[in-house]
Amino acid sequence: MYLKRLDIQGFKSFATRTTFEFGQGITAIVGPNGSGKSNIADALRWVLGEQSGRLLRARKMEDAIFAGSSKRQRADKVEVTLTLDNADGWLPLDFSEVALTRRGYRNGDSEYRINRKRVRLRDIHELLAKASVTQSSYAIIGQGLVETVLNLRPDERRHLIEEAA
C-alpha cells in the first residue's frame, strides 16, 4: 500500500487544483519560507480525517480554505483527494486503487468519500485503523514537533508503542 497521488484544491494556500504524484521512494518538498510546504502535510492530515485544530494549524474550517488576496478571490470550499495504491490488498477493500476525498465548506461542514461513495468520518477511521495511520502519532511528524516524543508522559509513550503493536 502506498500513496499514489494527492490532489489539493482550495486548501489553505493552494487556491487552484494542485496534483502531487508520489513515487515509492523518498519525495522531498523544498521551497522558501511561507511557500506552502507544511500546508501540503496539513492537507494530507486533513483528508485522513484529522480533527485537531492545533495539528492542522486551523482553528475552524475557514482557516483551512483559501482566503484569497487582492489578486485572486477566495475559495468557497476545499477539497482534497488522496489516491492510494492497494494492489497488495493491504486496505480491507476490494479495490486496487482507493481514493479518499474530503470536502469542507465555510460553514464548517465536512463530507467524506471513498471511491466517490459518500461515507462517514468513522468509515475513514475504520478503514485506516488497520494501518493505524490516522491514530498513529508517528506517521506524520509536524514542524517543530519532533522532540514531542521525548516530552510525553510515560503512559503516553506506552500508548505510542501500543499503536505499533
Binding site: F14, F20, G23, I29, V30, S35, K37, A139, A165
Partner: protein, 175 residues
C-alpha cells in the same frame, strides 16, 4: 494484546538502542517499562511485574534514557537541541521499523542537525524507505540529495502556492 505489547516493546526498545548508536556513533539508550501511578513509580519500577503478567496496565509507563558516547547518563533536559532531535528520530525510526507504516511525512525534522548528523539520519532514512514511503519537507542539502523526486513550492504574488516537479536527475544536472 498484552503478549503482543511485550513483543513490540522489546522490538522497539532494541531498535531504539540500535538507531541511537548509529546516530551518535556509540553511547547507550534505553526504553524501560515502569510500573507506576501518575504520581510516580512504585517499588516495582523495573517493570518486572508488568512483564511477568504480560500486562501493559493502565499504570505502566515507558521511560526513556539516553547517554551519548563518552558522556554520563543524562536526563533529557540536558541534551542539546540537536541531540534531542536525533534521539527523538531514533525512537520514531524504531517504531517505524517495528511496525512499518506504509508512509511517513517528516516536516523539517533535520532542522537542528549538523552536517555529520544529517548524514547519519539520511542513511537510516534510505534503509527504512524500502518498506515505508517517505515525504520529507526540508531545507537541508544532505536530505535533498537522497530524494528520488523533488517538488519545489513557491508563493505566487496572488498568495497562491505554485509547484514545480523536479526529478533528482534534473536537479543534479542544473547544480
Amino acid at each position: 494484546m498484552s503478549k503482543r505489547f511485550e513483543t513490540t516493546f522489546e522490538t522497539v526498545a532494541s531498535g531504539f538502542e540500535e538507531y541511537f548508536q548509529a546516530f551518535f556513533g556509540g553511547g547507550h539508550a534505553r526504553l524501560t517499562l515502569q510500573q507506576g501511578s501518575p504520581s510516580g513509580p512504585s517499588p516495582d519500577s523495573s517493570g518486572e511485574s508488568a512483564k511477568r503478567t504480560g500486562q501493559a496496565s493502565q499504570n505502566t509507563g515507558v521511560e526513556i534514557e539516553a547517554q551519548p558516547p563518552g558522556k554520563r547518563l543524562q536526563n533529557m533536559a540536558q541534551l542539546s537541541g540537536g541531540e534531542k532531535a536525533l534521539t527523538a528520530v531514533a525512537l520514531l525510526f524504531a517504531l517505524l521499523q517495528a511496525n512499518p507504516s506504509p508512509f511517513c511525512v517528516l516536516d523539517e525534522v533535520d532542522a537542528m542537525l549538523d552536517e555529520v548528523n544529517v548524514g547519519r539520519f539520511v542513511k537510516a532514512l534510505q534503509a527504512l524507505s524500502k518498506k515505508t514511503q517517505f515525504i520529507v519537507i526540508t531545507h537541508n542539502r544532505g536530505t535533498i540529495e537522497v530524494a528520488d523526486s523533488i517538488y519545489g513550492v513557491s508563493m505566487g504574488p496572488d498568495a497562491a502556492s505554485r509547484v514545480i516537479s523536479m526529478r533528482l536527475g534534473d536537479v543534479k544536472a542544473d547544480a
